[in-house]
Structure formats: C-alpha cells, structure tokens
C-alpha cells in the first residue's frame, strides 16, 4: 500500500483552466442537479399522465400506456442513452438530425440526457401513480360520482390529490434514483459530478481523493433531499392515509 494522499489537490487548478478542482467538482454537481431536475419535471408530467390513464375506463388507452411502460422499462438506461444520442439523429430527417448533431458541446449531450432520463423515470413514476390510485378505497371514486362530478373532475379533485400524498415517500426515492441515474450521462460526454470525478482522477492521478469528494457530495445532497421531503410529508399528510406502506420494491 503506497498511495500518496494529497488533500491539497482540491485547491490546485484543473487543466481546463476553469478554476480549482473543488470548483470543477461543484460545477459537476450543478450539472447533475440540472439534469436531474429537468428530467424530473418530464418524468413527473409524463408519468402522472400515463399512470392516471392506465386506471381509466378505456381499454385501448390502458393497453397503449401499458405498452409504453413495458417498452421503456425493459431496455437498460445506458442503451436508451445511446439510442437518444447516437441513433435518434440518424433516424430523423436529415435537416433536423444535422441540427441536433451540431448543438454546441454541453447542450449536445445535455438535451438527450435529460430527455432520456425523463422518459426512463416517467415509467417508474407511472407505476407508482397507478399503484397509488389502485390503493385508494373504491368508495372515493364512487363518492365523486355521487356528488355529480364528471370523471376528469373526480380525478382532479378527489383521487389524484390523495394519490400524490400517499405516494410521496416512493416519489422521494424515485427523485434520488433520478439523481443517481444522471451519472449515466457521462457515457455520452456530459461532465456531471461522477464524470468530473473521473476526469479529475485522469488529470491528477489522485483517484481516491476525487472519488471520496464525489461520494461525500452525493451523500450530502441525498441527506438534504431526505430532510426536505420529510418536512413536505409532514405538511401535506392526511391522517390515516400516509404511512400506508407501499411494500418493498426492486430498484437500483
């Protein structure tokens, strides 16, 4: 074991000339958060729509949404990343494809990464929303009908507000999964936190300092998200409903 620890390395300038290594890593964190937050918006919008439609009355819509879920759930994230980045511009009409390929550096990989991660996570959110809606007592929907609400109104005012409160804990972990999965964007050239830790290792040969720093940053962000979501859960809790365990799930 002869590894030279050098904690001062973080204050050395990085070769790209943008500042010190520690600044370099924090810009990486900003990219990680930028990817995760934008992808989260897409995932929540698409996922809530698909998950809700799967509980609706139309069988054909249900089947189409189920097909969407199966399609994006059964292909690895990395493969999907490659499809968005390498394959999609080739399949689009030449003019659009060329325009995508000519996007300036960080955006050329940022946009596919956000779209890919957003769609990938939307499938998991759709499943959470569907499970949440199905876990509600059937009487809730019937009560809406009895009050003379139309089906969209029942969803808007009765079912969905309850559902989102119930699935808040699993949504928290899905958000953290989104943040963790954004590291896969380094394979298409986006220098987010993990990518920058790897780059720092290549420039400075200080492997463990670089990865330790990235690890600590990830843990701190996780902690912050958990604390914030716990506060939110207390705010929106409906007595007797939250804390209903949604059971253990496979994940990564």
């Amino acid at each position: 074991m002869n590894y030279n620890w050098n904690w001062k390395i973080f204050f050395d300038p990085e070769p790209g000339g943008s500042g010190t290594y520690i600044q370099y890593l924090f810009v990486g964190l900003a990219w990680t958060l930028a990817v995760a937050l934008c992808a989260w918006v897409i995932a929540l919008a698409v996922g809530a729509t698909v998950g809700t439609l799967r509980t609706g009355p139309s069988r054909w819509v249900e089947r189409a949404c189920a097909a969407y879920v199966e399609l994006f759930r059964n292909v690895p994230l990395l493969v999907q990343m490659f499809l968005w980045y390498f394959v999609l511009p080739e399949l689009l009409p030449t003019a659009i494809g060329d325009w995508i390929k000519q996007m300036p550096p960080p955006w050329g990989s940022y946009v596919p990464a956000v779209l890919c991660l957003g769609i990938y996570m939307s499938v998991r959110i759709a499943e959470q929303v569907r499970a949440g809606i199905q876990s509600l007592p059937r009487g809730q929907g019937m009560a809406g009908t009895a009050l003379g609400l139309t089906l969209p109104q029942t969803y808007r005012y009765v079912i969905l507000p309850m559902t989102f409160r119930i699935i808040l804990p699993p949504l928290t972990s899905e958000f953290m999964n989104t943040m963790k999965n954004s590291a896969v964007a380094l394979t298409i050239g986006l220098l987010e936190l993990t990518g920058r830790a790897k780059a720092m290792q290549e420039f400075s040969f200080h492997v463990f300092e670089a990865f330790l720093a990235a690890t600590v940053i990830y843990l701190l962000v996780n902690l912050a998200v958990v604390l914030a979501m716990r506060a939110l859960e207390r705010q929106v809790r409906v007595p007797g409903f939250i804390g209903v365990s949604t059971g253990v799930q496979a994940g990564h």
Binding site: N74, M176, A183, F211, L219, A250
Partner: protein, 230 residues
Amino acid sequence: MFSGFDLDVIQRSLPYLFREGMIFTLTLTAIAMSGGIVFGTLLALLRLSSRAWLSSIAGGYVNLMRSLPLVLVIFWFYFLMPYVGAWILQQDQPVRIGAFLSAAITFTLFETAYYCEIMRAGIQSIPHGQVAAGQALGLGYLRTMGYIVLPQAFRNMVPVLLTQTVILFQDTSLVYVISSTDFLGAAAKVANRDGRLVEMYLFAAAVYFVVSFAASFYVRRLQTRIAVIR
C-alpha cells in the same frame, strides 16, 4: 429513414455478440445474484440484530450503497481493488485485477445492499408468532431462522428478488464504463469498428427488451401461482 440499414453487420457479429458478450453479461448477472442473495440475507439478519452496533453497521453499509450512483461505485471498486489486493497479498505494488473479477465483486457487493432490503422486508413480513413458536419448540436462533423464518421469507419475496435480478441484468450494461466486453460492450465495439451505430444499438436494445420482458412476464405468472392465500 431506414435506407442503408445494414442487417448483414448484425448477422456477421452474432457469434461475437452472444458467445463473448451475452455469456459475460449472464455470468456476471448469475454471480452477482447468487452472491447478492446470500450476503444480502446475512446482512438483513445483521440489520435486524438486537445489538445496536451490528444493525447500525449493516444499515450504514446499505444506505451508503443505495445513495451512490452505480457508475461511481463501479469506478470506486475498479480503482480500489488493486490496492486491496496488494494489502491482502502483502505486496508493495497494486495487484492487477481483471475487468471481469472487478465487475463481479462490484456488482455482488452493490446488489447485496438491495437484496438485503428485500430480505429484510421478507423477514419482517413473517408474523412474530412464528419465531415464538420456534422458541417454544426449543429451537435456537439459527434453527428458528433457518427452518422457520427464512424459508417463508424467501417464498414471499421470490417475485421481488427475481424482479431485482431483471434490473441487475439491465444494470450490468454499465460495465461499459470500465470498457468490459459485456453484451452492450461487444455491440458498441462492433458498432464503432464498422461505423454501424444505428443497427447495433437498435439490435442491442431489442435483445435486452426481449430477455427482460420475457423474464418479467414469467415473474408475474410466478407471482400469481405461488401466492399464499391468507
């Protein structure tokens, strides 16, 4: 749109893709699954231990692994393992460790954390009366666990364990970042060599889809078949 789509490149590379790539992916999945379930179960027992220091060490490990991106963990182990090897073998120089061994250890240790959470939920789903009955029969801790609690916990959790394995199968594609030749790595190598990105990546996506879809379909059937009616 699909003009100039070259199916021949897929056909030519099939032996390479499946004999090298798919074998690597499946072996890695199998090793990580068996190791993950064995260690995960042991870790779950530690997590449920009444000794606070044991359960907090186990809990700390699980939470650490679950808060980090898999890509970062793969890098960590890839660079850490040569030093650990040198320390175990008492050598001055870092030991050279192959990509497969590195990936196998990484995925086993990483998945252990996830399987541990599943097994913990499985053990906790067993009514306490079962443990009490075991003790009343005069069985010790190990026998109560081995003969009464764990078999039932496994049975309850088989669908979730298998779903986790399907996710693991997909996640093994991330060994791409340490340039291993798994199925996706093999496809990427052919794609870059022949300049056929579209064909190879679409084909890889299709193969992953078919395998994962078939597996999760089977898991769903199994789930309804083995469900214990209570």
